[in-house]
Amino acid sequence: MIEIIDLSKRYGNFTALNSLNLQIEKGSVFGFVGQNGAGKSTTFSILATLLAPTSGTAYINGYNIQKEPKMVRRQLGYMPDFFGVYDQLKAIEYLHFYGASYGIPLAEREKLIPQLLDLVNLAHKKDSYVDLLSRGMKQRLCLARSLIHDPEVLILDEPASGLDPRARVEMREILKELKNMGKTILISSHILPELAEMCDTIGIIDQGKLVAEGSVTEIQAQLKGERLIIVKTYRDIEKGVSFFEDDPNVSKLKIGDEEQTLRFVYKGSDQEQSVLLKKAIINDIAITSFSEIETDLEDVFMEITKGVELS
């Protein structure tokens, strides 16, 4: 389980991460989506005890990242977005090295490593030098490495980025297998559809803030043209509330913070929206303004779905 509480990170005046709150249940897969520079890697580095937060904190399986970093490391398998490998080390030696770094005895490693190599389809490459492997293979080897101490929680920073489509599919199959093994997985991507299929929940991060969170279907519904509408009246706001509530395309209706305003999410077409406005006026709702709010979300969605067909 991962619990992130009010987590912030500032570099000088620049806020890379802004009061992030997140709860990821045991055994679930959470997709962390945001364009480049949104703050994904910053979040992951903090969770992996590699970077100190400016404020806020987080727990991995109940262990605090600041007070019990060593216990956190034991719980956590971490795969960074960019990583290097030691040259002159064979794939099998690479895994032995990290296994030993977690204090796993040799006899146990000798049983474990072939299984891990099998899992990531690299059994045939066990005696190849790591720096000579293809990017996809290195990525999979690094994934195997992050599993070596059998961590309950996996944090994978863009494991599919920079891979060709075939390698991407291969990676996705492995991740599905990990999900079936019951691991809690936090995985990031700058492309939403890449994660859609395999995540239970998606969180969308933009400029260090979580701007949306929900199941894949919820997020996709928002993607398919929902809009936020604000209505101002000069009297009888309650009448407006009961009128708009009756429309089947309206949801999440709320009285606004300002007096005599209300807001709701609308998922009808443009034509339906125009009919709705006409009916409202006929019904003597004292409308002074009826406007669609440009949410930041839309821009974000445009970015993270750019150039890909939604499934």
Binding site: R10, T49, L50, A52, L76, F83, G84, L89, F97, Y98
Partner: protein, 281 residues
């Protein structure tokens, strides 16, 4: 202790270093160079020598010469071997992953230090047979050889710990190297220079009516490995220093103490700074 001997970092570094052919070429060339110097020296000596025999005091001269040569080599190579151990992993993006393992910072720092110095140690051990003339021709006691080797190992550890420290504190290997070489140059050359300057002061004021003492040169001399090495051969050499400074405490013990303090401070600081302090961002 067992944990430390089978330490994964140590293990891997040994594997990598001794797997490369370059390492063996290095040893070969080093021994060749030292051998040539000895042969050359013996050759020149025997030319100017009327008897044509090699005498104990000449064997002693070779020994002292070789000892300084090896010290220079140690001071020259140690920064190169150690000043990149952490920063180069950072540059090659392998450090992050290593730091997310449960290996303790102390274990990582110490095994990095030891593994990087092991090669230098190997060079020195491999050169031991060249010292056999000492036993053939005399002039130096085997005990002196032992002292010299121990002195090397100690000095190597201290300068190596400085390299590891700068490598931990400084992001770029190149900057870390320059810093480590700078500090090494100061400790090996700068302190000798200062000692000479301070001694001049002492001499000048020595002519006044009351014999005055100036303790300054003592403190620069005790930091200089070359002066310490020389003092193990020529105890007379520091007698002047003792009279000038008025400090009778053995210089080499001061060296041991001050360098041990430097070593411990450098190692502790490296261990502390290897991973970020998660409590303050």
């Amino acid at each position: 202790m067992k944990n430390f001997v089978i330490n994964p970092v140590l293990n891997k570094e040994f594997k990598l270093r001794f797997r490369s052919f370059k390492s063996f070429l290095g040893i070969l060339f080093y021994l060749l160079a030292l051998g040539l110097i000895i042969v050359g020296f013996v050759f020149i000596e025997s030319l100017s020598n009327t008897t044509g025999f090699f005498k104990p005091d000449q064997s002693r001269t070779i020994f002292i010469m070789l000892s300084f040569l090896q010290l220079a080599l140690i001071l020259f190579i140690t920064p190169g071997l150690t000043a990149g151990v952490i920063s180069s992993e950072r540059e090659r993006q392998t450090l992050n992953i290593l730091l997310t393992t449960t290996q303790s910072s102390a274990s990582i720092v110490l095994s990095k230090l030891i593994s990087s110095l092991s090669y230098l140690l190997l060079l020195i051990v491999a050169s031991l047979p060249l010292y056999s003339f000492v036993f053939l021709f005399g002039g130096i006691s085997p005990g002196q050889v032992l002292i010299t080797i121990s002195f090397y190992m100690f000095t190597m550890l201290v300068f190596g710990s400085l390299g590891v420290l700068f490598s931990t504190l400084i992001r770029k290997t190149i900057v870390s190297m320059v810093t480590t070489y700078g500090v090494t140059l100061f400790l090996a050359g700068g302190t000798a220079f200062l000692t000479i300057i301070f001694m001049q002061f002492a001499n000048r004021y020595g002519y006044s009516a009351t014999p005055s003492t100036n303790p300054l040169p003592y403190f620069t001399a005790m930091l200089n490995p070359a002066i310490i090495l020389f003092s193990t051969f020529e105890p007379d050499f520091i007698r002047e220093l003792t009279t000038n400074t008025g400090i009778k405490f053995p210089l080499w013990i001061s060296y041991l103490i001050s360098y041990t303090v430097i070593f411990i401070a450098a190692i502790l600081l490296s261990i502390k700074k290897l991973r970020p302090n998660m409590k303050k961002g």
